[in-house]
């Protein structure tokens, strides 16, 4: 598989030859070879669990490969630990930032790369360098700001600055836009292009096809631990990349007809939530959801969407009024609320399926019974009818294409997409009047995304109301019949998908009010 670099081409920044890595029985990387040219932005795309992050962690010395060789700038360079990677000029921006929250930006930048035993000279040097970099690459951050006070976009800049302070020539970014607003993502891309034009090499790991098409020069596709293709971005298309990622043709658009909204199902008025720390998380939310429509809530995560779902799901205390099918529902947040919600026809697919949606150690059939185990068909009195539960689970697994269709398998043994299908099957098959669904496709493969989106649209077409919360703007745009944007516990405005675009929504998500509320 390995090819010698031919003479006369742009020199290679990185070459990996035959990298393999296994975690126990799972082969995360299988004989991977890749060549990255200097001064390019090289995208690596693949589904969750395809082995992208593992590969990059090997390159950064976080994991040790079982086999294979790493060449940096044409020379064989073993990378046993992160220090070796840093010495080789590699910087990495992890998906979950590796910053010390109570430290200042300066302290974070110099940590591990101090010049001497005393801090003062290093801090002065870093301050000067930061000023230069800010000018050169639009990387402005207040050097004396404490990191925990910065928003995620700025924290990410600190991570990039850390790498540049260490004189990195090669910058690896792992899913960098997952936490950014569209405007912040655009800014990041400008920074990356600036860095590339200065001769730096950038590796961008992502699962978003749009980003690959927008910014990369070359793209490598990974599937199930193997590198399936490396192509020039200009010579490919999103459809082709999706097919390479999944191994079959995938429908990237959501097929749906215009909504036929009917009567109002859910009516929310003046909803307020104050959390344990006394912080007001929801500051007066008004919402209506009608039968037969999908209301999408867009926003950067942490702006009150989670709290809204928790209140509607019946496990967070709130003030205000909520009417479901005209009847006021309790907002005490006690256990009985969540049970009442189900009886009132509200089903909930929570944002964090591993924490709220499933018990990972429990079997699939047990998980499918949760919340509905009191029903008569699943037993009476003290005893549960396990056989009935198992049979019920088998049916759901078949209808929702859960793989493998084994009710006795623990929830944790399924992939993200199949876990989500289990939760979805449990909630949708209850035939609810209102489905609350949070981050339906977070950590879910493209193939499963297609399936989940179809299910949501099908439920809508059956005349049910759906509240969709997602941080993926593409998903909101594709699924919603109406879009409400949340920022800092408020609804910044409502838009119709046909009359808005990512730019306008992005502004709203950043707290800037755009045009007045769109007419119905």
């Amino acid at each position: 598989m390995t090819q010698r670099p031919s003479q006369g081409e742009a020199p290679l920044a990185i070459e990996l030859r035959g990298i393999s890595k296994a975690f126990g029985p799972v082969q995360a990387n299988k004989d991977i070879s890749i060549q990255v040219k200097r001064g390019t932005i090289h995208g690596i795309i693949g589904e969750n669990g395809a082995g992208k992050s593992t590969l990059m962690s090997i390159l950064y010395g976080f994991y040790k490969a079982d086999a294979g060789e790493i060449y940096i700038g044409g020379r064989p360079t073993p990378i046993p630990d992160s220090q070796a990677a840093i010495d080789a000029g590699i910087g990495m921006v992890f998906q979950h930032f590796k910053l010390v929250q109570p430290f200042t930006v300066l302290e974070n930048v110099i940590l591990g790369a101090e010049d001497g035993k005393l801090l003062k000279p290093s801090l002065a040097k870093a301050r000067k360098l930061l000023t230069d970099l800010a000018r050169e690459y639009e990387l402005d951050v207040d050097p004396d700001a404490v990191v925990e006070d910065l928003n995620v976009g700025l924290q990410q800049r600190v991570e990039i600055l850390k790498a540049l302070y260490r004189e990195a020539d090669i910058l690896i970014l792992d899913e960098p836009t997952g936490v950014l607003t569209p405007a912040e993502a655009d800014h990041l891309f400008r920074i990356l292009k600036g860095l590339r034009d200065q001769g730096k090499t950038i590796i961008l790991i992502t699962h978003k096809l749009r980003e690959i098409m927008e910014i990369t020069d070359t793209v490598s596709v990974m599937r199930r631990g193997e590198m399936t293709a490396t192509v020039k971005t200009a010579e490919t298309s999103p459809e082709q990349l999706a097919e390479l990622m999944v191994g079959r043709k995938v429908l990237l658009r959501v097929d749906k007809t215009p909504a036929q909204p009917k009567e109002t199902v859910l009516e929310v008025r003046g909803l307020r939530v104050i959390d344990d720390q006394g912080v007001e998380r929801l500051r007066g939310i008004d919402l209506d959801i009608r039968a037969g429509e999908v209301l999408g809530i867009a926003g950067v995560s942490g702006n009150g969407q989670s709290e809204l779902l928790e209140v509607l799901g019946g496990y967070r205390k709130a003030e205000g009024t909520i009417r479901m099918n005209g009847q006021e529902i309790a907002l005490t947040g006690s256990a009985s609320d969540a049970r009442m919600r189900r009886m009132q026809g509200i089903a909930h697919v929570p944002e964090d399926r591993q924490r709220e949606g499933l018990i990972m150690e429990f079997r699939a059939w047990e998980n499918v019974g949760f919340g509905y185990h009191r029903e008569e068909r699943f037993g009476s009195g003290l005893f549960m009818d396990n056989t009935a539960l198992r049979t019920d689970c088998e049916g759901k697994m078949a209808r929702f294409d859960v793989r493998p269709p084994d009710p006795n398998l623990a929830a944790k043994s399924f992939s993200g997409g199949n876990q989500q299908k289990i939760v979805l099957a449990r909630e949708i098959e209850r035939d609810p009047d209102l489905l609350l669904i949070g981050q339906p496709t977070r950590g879910v493969d493209i193939g499963a995304i297609e399936f989940i989106h179809k299910q949501v649209v099908a439920l809508r077409d059956k005349g049910k109301a759906i509240l969709l919360v997602s941080v993926e703007l593409d998903e909101i745009m594709a699924l919603s019949d109406r879009i409400a944007v949340m920022f800092d516990g408020r609804i910044m405005g409502e838009r119709l998908p046909s009359e808005t675009d990512a730019n306008e929504l992005g502004l709203l998500m950043a707290g800037m009010t755009g045009k007045p509320v769109a007419a119905e």
Binding site: F62, S82, Q83, I86, M92, V100, Q101, I110, K117, L119
Partner: protein, 321 residues
């Protein structure tokens, strides 16, 4: 109470707060690096015993002190191995160390000296003497200032001054040096340190060893300066009080000085006023002597405002993506 009486109480408070200050700074190093240590008590006890035993055997208090430090360092190594290398539970390791020290000191003491777990009374060069600061006698006559210098500040064992010097030293190390920055970072987010190419294990071990050194000094002071020999369970919960003081001090060195002095003061008051008449009610001795412990409970119950511990405290570092 007259002025001389006040000076006397403060003087006694300073003596009594010294082992607490050592232990509190010991805990500070360990916990700022993310390793909880409820084994301070055990380390103090082990050091107190071995320093007294060695001092009794050789007649040299310095050799005693080094033996005490060694004992404490050995227990610190066990804690480091258990909680850093093998990623065990830090609380359980600490509890084990306390039990180990509590039992071993008495058993070995009985085997060596046959005095029911005590060591022989230390005299002369086997104990830390009192240092008289220069010009103490000359300045004593000056009103107000004189007694503060001559009677309060002067006339303590050298370890008292060492402890006091440790406060600015600790502050300087933590806030001004590379080691301090990394140490604080590893207690907040070890992954940040790891990805910066610095060894998490190395840093945490260094912190735990410094903790052992300071606990060793606390124990040696207890047995060879404050008292004249080792008595069974003589640490008397000081390791735990130091932990309470550490929380009270919000893991900061200068605050630690204030917090431990407050505990020392309460203990001094308890010793001085065996029974106190207040508004016609006699407060029993037991209550006065329980004051430091009562304050400990109050502090640990969280009555002193929100204290934010180092974020990665108590958790072994496991590499993950």
């Amino acid at each position: 109470m007259d002025y001389a009486g006040l000076i006397q109480i403060l003087d006694s408070a300073l003596r009594l707060s010294t082992p607490l200050l050592f232990a509190c700074l010991a805990g500070l190093f360990s916990e700022r690096a993310g390793v909880f240590d409820i084994g301070l008590e055990g380390k103090i006890l082990a050091s107190a015993f071995l320093s007294a035993a060695m001092a009794a055997y050789t007649g040299n208090v310095w050799l005693g002190m080094f033996a005490g430090i060694l004992a404490s360092l050995m227990l610190a190594t066990i804690h480091g191995m258990a909680s850093i290398t093998f990623r065990g539970n830090q609380l359980i390791s600490g509890v084990a160390i306390n039990f180990l020290a509590s039992g071993l000191t008495v058993v070995i003491g009985e085997a060596w000296f046959g005095l029911g777990g005590r060591t022989p009374q230390l005299e002369g060069a086997a104990r830390f003497g009192e240092l008289t600061l220069p010009f103490a006698d000359a300045i004593r006559g000056i009103p107000f200032i004189g007694p503060i210098y001559a009677d309060l500040l002067s006339g303590h064992s050298i370890l008292v001054y060492v402890a006091l010097l440790c406060v600015p030293l600790t502050w300087w190390i933590l806030s001004r040096t590379r080691f301090g920055l990394r140490l604080r970072a590893v207690g907040e987010n070890p992954a940040a340190v790891d990805t910066a190419g610095v060894s998490v294990v190395g840093l945490r071990f260094a912190a735990v060893m410094i903790c052992g050194l300071l606990c060793g000094l606390a124990g040696a002071y207890l047995a060879t300066a404050l008292s004249a020999g080792f008595v069974k369970e003589m640490s008397a919960g000081r390791g735990f009080i130091a932990l309470a003081a550490l929380i009270f001090a919000k893991w900061r060195p200068w605050h630690a000085l204030g917090a431990t002095f407050l505990f020392g003061l309460l203990e001094a008051l308890g010793n001085r006023f065996q029974s106190l008449e207040l508004l016609g009610i006699t407060i029993p001795t037991q209550f006065m002597q329980a004051l430091p412990y009562i304050l400990t409970v109050v502090i640990l119950a969280g009555f002193v405002g929100r204290a934010i511990p180092p974020r990665a405290g108590g958790e072994p570092y496991v590499k993950e993506r």
